[in-house]
Symmetry: C2
Subunit: 124 residues, 2 copies
Amino acid sequence: MTRARKAVLDALRSAEEPLSAAGVIARIGDICDQATVYRALSYLEETGSAESFVLHCARDGTERYYIAAGERHHHWFHCESCHRFIDLGVCRLGRLCDQLEREFDVRVTEHTLYFSGLCGDCRK
Amino acid sequence: MTRARKAVLDALRSAEEPLSAAGVIARIGDICDQATVYRALSYLEETGSAESFVLHCARDGTERYYIAAGERHHHWFHCESCHRFIDLGVCRLGRLCDQLEREFDVRVTEHTLYFSGLCGDCRK
DNA sequence: CGCCGTTTTGCAAGTGATTCGCAGAACAAG
DNA sequence: CTTGTTCTGCGAATCACTTGCAAAACGGCG
């Protein structure tokens, strides 16, 4: 693993929430170029060390967010007010996926799911 | 409802699947300008006549897809081979949303969910 | 119907996120 | 150390989408 890729993976691991490319660059942009960050993120995803999803948020626009891959994949809640993410724990769609595969005769290889709204703090 | 907006809404209604802005423009680009299509899509979504989600696909890249709003919102399956969408029927996440709201003390105002993989035809 | 203030449109240029081309740097194997 | 391969930085390009602005369409109302 090269220096740049390691730095990107470390950034993802130490973040407690999904990071956009811009987020990664904000953290380690001094270590390597933004093109390198993008390439490293693609590489990490291709090799299974990271996962990503595309999320649109009013403040930051549409960006792809990355997370270091863990044992099992998680889903996230995004607060539209403070723009933090809350980890909703491991995926609960296993049964639904199976059911849909049977019901619609498809092979589901991946799914994208996230929730947005207001977190407890911002709702008060 | 203006001519352009009506044309865009008709395009969404007559499509049996989510359309990207490019898809709409392919259908009615001769009637109005692409900027108008984008503006009309935003307008339709703001006023509740359409819904959208952002999907990434290997062939077409990352685009926002729109559907004419029906009684209840649906979720979709996207085939990575023929790039067609399959309507998976109305949302089945009601219970899960409620549960997550209680479990994590959040207010879920919207969610994004779609599945990708291979459809029955392409799997053969 | 004609006038006037508001909205919408077309066109062209601008943004923001992401990707690419290319030449030099870092590596890996022998 | 040499050589072939992979990775990086830098700058330019691309893609999806947005905006500024002037002309066109619309909506009331006298």
